[in-house]
Symmetry: D2
Subunit: 349 residues, 4 copies
């Protein structure tokens, strides 16, 4: 059993971490902080937890967190980087669900998040926590930048093409038309998020620029075995009137090299043995509800013309796109079974 | 053509007034105020209005409003009462969609709204704007208190029983189990109203006490032809994951007098000729979507035991429950056809 | 490990049984029947199960089922009663999620379900599977009638009042205003159930009579310690535009005996130690989302007048109202921990 | 006043035609046919129409329809083509909301709809009813093929680029990622359309091929001033958990010619004076709710790289995408004001 702290427990990734960690066989959640709710029982705010925990929110005290084996930051961007050094010095590992340890490019970080990075040295040692592509490094990591939800779908959706012996897609052709449920925007009192503004409605947002764009560009560059440049890819997110779920529809032009390749087989082989990535039969249409509440990502390929491929990728933005993936990282870091606490089946209907 | 001002145009009743008034044949909307949005085009905030108006929000200036024939207050409680005297003195009529002129009982008003009433004398002369029950007074009124959404359903749902020659129901038996769409709570940035907190969810609220309770009690007292006391009625509102719509399920014990009465015929006769109250065939189940966007209220009776009656009442909370009824009041006050601007058919599906 | 068969695996209770049983530590699901889908993989129909099972639907073969320790019937009414004798003779226990073993009154069964009962003798020995109220009998049972979803909320919502040393409520005063998500109507291709007919809409249904009415009447009679008659209770179900979830708002008049009783304490004591019944603090408002996907029922009391009590009861209609409760019964019958396989936390948001 | 018949009044386009035509100042709806509901009042099936019509469904009788000035077919594909000759011979005009008169290419029609065309000669004379691009021909037409919902968004979204003096986009680069509310699939009792299968869910469908694909290809070919070939465009529709609304996100590569062109101005000039096409300010994000219930289509441009353009197009699939556009065609054919009966403002919220 390890002891776990969660900083920032009043948001949706916080309560999702609790939902999963309170049933994790190797974990004891000891601390849950909140600036505004210290002293209040967490099950008073989230009645779904009644009967499962007596935890109360507490103020963030670094000495208390230093006694944990690992601390999750389910906070806004810019919090984890201010506490990472103190925690590491005490031997406490850090998993940040925000963006502080996602981008290695400091300029991009400052441009998109409006923050100077507080610990560039730690950032350099941190590991980008996309488990399927980075497993060995994660096992050794002290600090994890848990990937953004959209970037998770894009990287897992394109990795087999990018890591083949020959580059199979044209980087400049990539178009990602992505759709997310509303919980992706977090638990905040803002006019744009209220029910009557979002129900029975559909729209694009962030077309002119979204923080996940530079993360996707940098991450695909790291994944690619072929020194490709992904700066001109197009990424357009949309908002779906549903609570959870994310679907990315990715359009790519294939290279000549792809002609000789059975792409369906390529993907199946690439993800052979993975617990949480499901390559569906060619021509399938993954539905977001098939992964509701589950740490699962499903991929389906549609090669509709000789040189055109559509990759459909579905996940639950709060699980494989956030809290579930963070726990998957923790499992790797502590040498637990990778699927410990993550075996739940999606809620359908 | 009359000139109209709207105070408080950024909420849902404000934009609903605009949707209806911009197509009203006898109305010219001249002024639309907002404390926070002065100078901004209204169709920038509500793109549904693009192509239908060039109005901009302006600061509330009483001199400008005094030039209008009528001013609607689509504001929080406590605004209209501070401006009514100035408007009346200039001959401008007032229709308040908030609660300032709903309760004649000042103690109740102060208890439930936490405000001392600013103009008790005007309150005395004001008229409660439930058109079907108060038509003649409304035609002469200078100030209208537009009824609350829940109270509208209850009064129209019970009036035929209360105004029969003998009292047909037992006042102390009344139970109102009411359900409303989320737009009834207005357009406010509050955590409790965000999409992910309300979608795919159902709950009761305000069980211990809701502001519409005293309004229902007072209004039923006025309607009743039999000096009955309604203080012990039970009213429990619930929140439905839909944008618009309200259904009240009203349970009453019938008196002995009711045995000789054909209640279905009683209701049909009572509402004979009304544009906006539809008595459906006995045993029907009015759906809220049948009135979506329409100034229409539908009633169905279920007499399930000799002395037990269930009255189902459906309306769109923003139309017959708010903006539509306010315009119906205006039509009466200015001697327009009562259904002018209110003939739209509900949006189904 | 016991072996389990499920008859009728293509409906929502079927797939929900699978979601829970596939992760149950003591269970091996061997057989899943479907008249129409025999030979098809179940995860092809329900992709949420991909990676969790290789089961295929098969035709119903009684010899195969007889080799199971227990068979669940997730079928329409009238199926289980035709196979119960064959299964019992082989020592296989039966849990019926339909109505075949819910009503002891054969006349009522035939009246409401239009079927002559196929095995009245077995019906007599069957046990009504409301675990919290019937635990000892269930442990010995060979055949379980799993309660209807609405009746579960009413019985657990009123049992403490009915089993107190003095009768605390007036049976003839009971009004149950119940609301259910759409999944309660099952997985059937019918016009009334399609998305565009149900979204953004609210309505009552079955006001003139619903099959759960006689079940509630009979069951309350059994629960009551005071020979009371419940035939005149009123039960009105409504349809909520959400997938899962059920809330019953129950209104009762209290007797004089209640004056001396702390009802909140009565309920807390009554359900002390129960895993799946949560008595919330007085004045709470249980939300359906707090139990989404969980085998949990939450109760809150509102005593709004000296002699008037409102009981709010929330559950997930597919879990505590159907598949979860069925598994809870199985756990009792096979002497497993009562919460085995049922410890999942509700999905919020 | 003209007399109007509607064939097939029980679907969503049928009831939407009624909603709009019953308030149209120049129209008298005389006949409404249904194979299955003959003799039933239409407001019994669609209670939203109570108080607005006494129409009953009738059997399809060609002699009766021949007395109408115009007949709308709100039927499945393949019905209108069997009655067009009879109606035209009597001087009755025909507006088909299905696909019988959309595709001039008979091979494509037979391939995608599985039907041999019943009246190829009439097809040749028929006019494709996209009013903004085909207005003069429509005014003279006897038979109109009302465009499909998706094709409407694509054509109006790309027409300014295709009809500029130089071709401004690369036809082979077009990718249409389209999203529709569930009502687009019609009012049919099918398992895939029920509430619990669609709510809180998102998915692509018809990726391998959708009937609107050939219509888009043919129609863009007609619109283009430059003999371009559009066969390799990509069209992927998705299903959104909302009743009404459609958003197409269209990605195109621009040609060198586009460098010298102010695209925003090009679009604004192109649609100058159009009632029903709204070019929003550059960088806007049209929401489907801004056109809910309105015959309105909104376009916004995002030129995110020198040679990359994203066109966002929103409409209500049942109005501008079906019934509203059909009435707009009728208005043109009978020389009514083009916006007669179509001036309603979108329902927001």
């Amino acid at each position: 059993m390890i002891t776990v702290g969660i900083v920032g427990g009043t948001g949706y990734t916080g309560v999702e971490l609790l939902r999963l960690l309170l049933r994790h066989p190797n974990v004891n959640v000891k601390i849950l902080t909140s600036r505004t709710e210290a002293g209040r029982r967490v099950d008073e705010m989230f009645p779904s937890l009644r009967g499962h925990t007596d935890l109360e929110f507490s103020d963030l005290k670094i000495e208390a967190l230093q006694k944990c084996d690992v601390v999750f930051f389910a906070t806004p961007h810019g919090v984890a980087m201010n506490h990472a050094a103190d925690l590491l010095s005490a031997g406490t590992k850090v998993i940040d669900l925000a963006a502080d340890f996602r981008l290695q490019d400091l300029e991009q970080f400052e441009k998109w998040y409006g923050l100077e990075h507080a610990c560039p040295e730690i950032l350099k040692q941190s590991v980008y926590g996309l488990c399927e592509l980075n497993r060995e490094k994660i096992k050794q990591a002290q600090v994890i930048g848990n990937p953004g939800c959209y970037p998770t779908t894009v990287q897992l959706g394109l990795a087999p093409l990018l890591q083949a012996s020959e580059l199979l897609l044209k980087p400049e052709s990539i178009i990602i038309d992505a759709k997310s449920g509303v919980s992706g925007a977090g638990r905040k009192a803002s006019l744009g998020m209220i029910y009557s503004e979002n129900a029975d409605n559909f729209k694009a947002y962030g077309v002119a620029g979204h923080r996940h764009h530079p993360e996707i560009v940098e991450a695909l560059g790291h994944i690619s075995a072929h020194q490709a440049n992904f700066e001109s890819l197009i990424f357009v997110p949309h908002l779906v009137p549903m609570i959870r779920g994310m679907l990315s529809t990715i359009y790519v032009d294939l290279t000549e090299h792809a002609k000789a390749v059975d792409l369906q087989k390529l993907y199946q082989d690439f993800y052979q043995g993975e617990h949480f990535v499901d390559v569906m039969p060619a021509g399938s249409s993954p539905e977001t509800r098939s992964v509701r509440g589950a740490n699962q990502l499903r991929i389906a390929l549609h090669q509709i013309q000789a040189n055109k491929l559509i990759v459909l990728v579905a996940q639950d933005n709060l699980v494989k796109g956030a809290a579930g993936q963070a726990i998957q990282n923790m499992n790797l870091m502590f040498n637990f079974s990778e699927d410990a606490g993550l075996q739940g089946i999606g809620l359908l209907p």
